[in-house]
Symmetry: D2
Subunit: 391 residues, 4 copies
């Protein structure tokens, strides 16, 4: 099977899933052409969901040409070149592997999957597909936050010297209230984990990306503050973590501390990063996503500079609005779509790859293992993902 990219036609896109993430990704495909004229054109071919009525309605609202209820059928369509998987994590593996086999470029919303084993399998499939010119990417959308992309650039340019400490957190508060009800997200069998998988995955990807380095060992702790909640069938044990902590050793020699929580009263979507280097530091808070704090040691009267990352010269912003006209959270998905389309057109490996998604899963697994062993340091396997998988 050969690469599915057409030469002159728009790339047909199918999104699988139409709830929160399906809506966010639909928004991206609807808008990518307006802000990234140089990206290859994409066409919102079909939105896939289980419920025919709701899927049809969502498709109409979100700008899709068609609605469908079977993702398998979509893989057979010639007018679909990109499959964008926005379903819950448990189905990621099967859809992704099948789509790659069918020659479709695949974007998978994070986490890559719910288990390391599945992620390894997906990574192998992606590597194989890449040999056929079929591309894949995992949806860590915060890679595209312009302020974080700028942070990455500044680190790469050595503007803050050698990175030593990263202090990171992702704090939300939607489970603060102990009377908030039980949901599938609070059961281990359906959700895999709690704040760890949902929030720490973003943080770990950022830490590895910004430092261009990998986590090699972790100390971890998990905790559930509200141990039981009321469900449809009465009182029920919460079997995932409300909060998680990790101290990570990075291959570069830096150390990163991570704290994530869903019971941090007053924090709505508080992904914060402080990156300390030998010659400066950076700071970021997702609730103010257009801003990057930059401190450079050099020069008189040093101090933390609030850079409003809305200039045309800043990453991803060459074709949006004038300076100071801030962007929203949803724009990061539009940027992600543009990057994916651009990589496909250039026949270039997109990033973050499935292998990068797998690397995050392995860190999460190590945190869980450490947490089960009094927090003692656990090594993160660093072998090549494909080799490791084949062993």
């Amino acid at each position: 099977m050969s690469m599915s990219t057409p030469t002159s036609q728009p790339l047909g896109v199918a999104v699988i899933g139409h709830s929160f993430m399906g809506k966010a990704h639909s928004n991206a495909w609807r808008n990518v052409g307006a802000f990234y004229p140089e990206a290859p054109p994409a066409r919102q071919a079909v939105l896939v969901g289980r419920d025919p009525l709701r899927t049809k309605e969502a498709a109409a609202r979100y700008g899709w040409a068609e609605a469908a209820t079977s993702w398998e059928s979509v893989l057979e369509r010639d007018d679909v070149h990109v499959v964008d998987i926005c379903t819950p994590g448990e189905s990621h593996h099967d859809i992704a592997v099948a789509a790659l086999a069918a020659g479709k470029h695949v974007l998978v919303e994070k986490p890559l999957s719910n288990t390391v084993a599945e992620s390894e399998s997906m990574t192998r499939a992606a590597a194989e597909a890449a040999t056929r010119g079929v591309h894949s990417m995992v949806g860590f959308n915060y890679r595209r936050v312009p302020a974080l992309a700028l942070a990455r650039q500044l680190v790469e340019q050595g503007r803050i010297g050698e990175v030593r400490q990263v202090r990171a957190s992702y704090l939300q508060d939607w489970l603060t209230d102990p009377t908030a009800p039980m949901t599938w997200r609070l059961r281990r069998e359906s959700a895999g984990s709690g704040a760890l998988g949902d929030l720490a995955s973003h943080v770990i990807d950022q830490v590895q990306h910004i430092t261009a380095s990998t986590v090699t060992g972790v100390n971890g702790r998990l905790h559930t503050f509200v141990a039981e909640r009321d469900g449809d069938a009465g009182r029920e044990a919460v079997t995932v973590d409300d909060a998680a902590w990790a101290t990570c050793v990075l291959s570069s020699g830096a150390i990163a501390s991570i704290e994530v929580s869903r019971v941090a009263a007053g924090r709505k979507n508080g992904l914060s990063l402080e990156v300390f280097g030998s010659e400066g530091s950076l700071s970021f808070d997702l609730e103010r996503l257009n801003e990057l704090g930059v401190h450079e040691e050099h020069g008189e009267h040093a101090g933390l500079r609030r850079v409003l990352v809305t200039e045309e010269s800043h990453p991803y912003l060459q074709a949006w609005w004038p300076p100071g006209h801030v962007l929203g959270w949803d724009a990061t998905f539009t940027m992600q779509a543009a990057d994916f389309l651009g990589a496909i057109a250039a026949d270039r490996a997109p990033s973050p790859s499935f292998a990068e998604g797998l690397a995050v899963q392995r860190v999460l697994a190590a945190v869980e293992q450490s947490a089960r062993h009094l927090g003692t340091c656990v090594d993160v396997p660093a072998e090549d993902p494909l080799e490791g998988g084949r062993a």
Copy 2:
């Protein structure tokens, strides 16, 4: 001619103009259905511009079914029900009056027009059209910033008591550099005025809206810090203001101070408002448009509360993203489009009306007049706009 709203078909929209504002409005029409499912459906019928090639390209990129070069021809189309005017101010009057006469609902980007006389004529046309069920609105998009809409609600509910002082500014810095070149925006004949018309118009509308009150008298000052700039034909006088100041008396008895500038180094899009009442205060900065500062005198340990205006219960946010997932500047146009569609569907007068746009123009004119007379206080005519126009 009867009202143009169809009963079952989507409302066909034409946008006139395809540069900065045309892009922003196109974005709104492309996305309004996704976030406001209860709004009547709209269809991006046609984008109008002078240059055939560039208009066609923009139409394709921004999601329009067609491109056209004549706004007059668009007024004749049966599939166009809404005309959205995004051209420079000097053409607003003619297009708007013709479109209303043709039975099209009209949205005009602010300022309503470049002169009070034209604005009066437009306001009369709008009033007449309203008797035929044809609606009109002026595009003060900041009315829709959720934090500012919340500010309006809190004032209305008496949460900060009786408003006494408003301290407002709109500071930008794109003309800071004296070597920045001459443009049509810096010539009085083409631009009408400088920071005053461009920036103070937004501020005055906000002040009047939030306080539910009108400016009755003003002291004004205008200043041009860089008196000459290099143009295509050599050195040329700048004939509009770089900055403007006004102290406004409001019909409610409150006093508002206003400062606007295009040479405020370091401020990119800094519309800031502080509203002081007898029982509390509010504060806002457009560069952090998802936040509203709320201070209430009551209760122990008072202080300025940073409210992240991203809750489902906040204005305009019932169908966007979860709490803490911030919105961008462009979202305010989507909200504006939803409001306009909703008003059309309900056959209800949209706000801000042309009369409200005219009221802002009259305040701007009074500021200019005061500035020409050593800043002495100038009354703002408060008569009914239609009556005033007919006199």
Copy 3:
């Protein structure tokens, strides 16, 4: 009579007044030696107040060797070399003039006096005394806020280019509540003016100092939001302003807007300054007095830098605490005392001089005059204070 500075003995200090300002100045004299070892030693000789018992108690508490009830008697003492006047403004003139005549160095808390005429008389007395080596200074303590002193330095060094706009305010809220009682501060006959004299005087001095420029013309407005309050003798008219606004033209060509208020709910001691120049800007808020915002246009990724002004190299801080160990409001009086002592020892004219205090009074008077004439622009007399006084 010759200069009173001893060569080897500590300078004996008398403070006149022991309430709020007397306490703040006492604190300064008690601590100046600890933080400014290079300043000539000062001795807390005597605290003067009307009430013998309360003055004695205050003297003991604040570290004074003695208490006294007559300021006249203090002027006769040989062990008093410095007279520091902390009484209400109405008595400043008589004490200062007598003290200067008696050969005492005089520090007068701001405002210099309640009237321009008295201030002129004091300025003449100071000029005459200076010819005898007797020094005088007015207590605009905010000149010594390290962040503001740094602001002055940066402007002087041209770091933000030519200053164009200054946006200044001093907002407090202690009169927000309309049931707050009548006091002498709200009567014109005792207080002179309201927010204008109390708060705008500080702001005007800062504006003139930071820009090294003088106000040459003003548009002013005054307003009293709560027109009557309950006093001991029943309901009584408030005869001073609750808030004041001014737009000032500076001799340098810059324009400064000023807003002051005592009814700005939620602002406790909010003196804020934004200084916009052709190459950068500065910002300051007294409620965070250890910080200066610095924006410089040059360089990549510009932004407002929060400089924590606590480094040994920053103004006034060579002998305080390590970086980041913040100072309080009271420290500014200690710095003021050190400056005054240093000037005396060096037989150098201290600043701000009485002439500088008079200049501020003249601007305040012009604001009042403008406010009485619909806000029309009023010139501020710029003649030499001594000449002007003699004319």
Copy 4:
């Protein structure tokens, strides 16, 4: 030997040590009477230091009646009732134990001592002295920061519900530069530990105090980023930590994460605390020590409230300055002195006691032990300090 408090005479104070901490404590004793009139009067009797000349000079500058070079001799003086130990940690034990034996009330600057064993010995001596009415306290001055004292009150009152998570850090940057020279503070034998003992001790005391709870187990990590520095005798190994991390389990069930560093570029004195409870949260940053962030879940439009902790009704502030007139870092020592004097006068056990200082030392020791064992969780001995010591 009986209690040394005189009935009518001021309490005579001796401070041992005259560098950084001696200066800060001197400042407190010099000013405590001015701000705490109800505290028993104190007299600055004698300042003790090794170098006769420098001590004499410091004594004169800091307001001491006398200087001395032998702390032993001071213990014999009848006019000394309070001994305040500001020497390096290694001498704390001997001076404190001797002073207590001599019937002097003892204030020891933190850390209580450099070792757990010494701290246990001191705690036993303090308990014995207490039976004689002789009091002792350890100088965790941040207990007195008004904003932190308010935080403690709010937690105690249940305003944020049950505390679940504390996120704490103390970040400085004075060792960021790898060329900063070797000092005694970077050698284990002289300094005990690095950032851990210096900075984490403050944080741990705060965490335990604010939550009214004790750390029962910790995971720890220490790291030295700059392993060698240039000393007087050439290149030398740094044998203490530059940074430390700990995850602490509290007896209340809460979990606290702690990160401290001396290489956090851009943070000067950044002690920050975020306390998350079941009904709200608090936040604090020492670089803005007059502010407390308070979030309460209840009520509409929740958000983080910036409380300026400068009201007369706030802890410690009944007799300072008007609202908004901010205090400096040094004021916390004045408050500490007032608390100690008040406890002595009332014959009441001061807090933080030596036992509380010991408790902090035990947590630090557990962090070190955990760090030596791959970060595995180490229990903190919770036994009664005296009993534990005797075992």
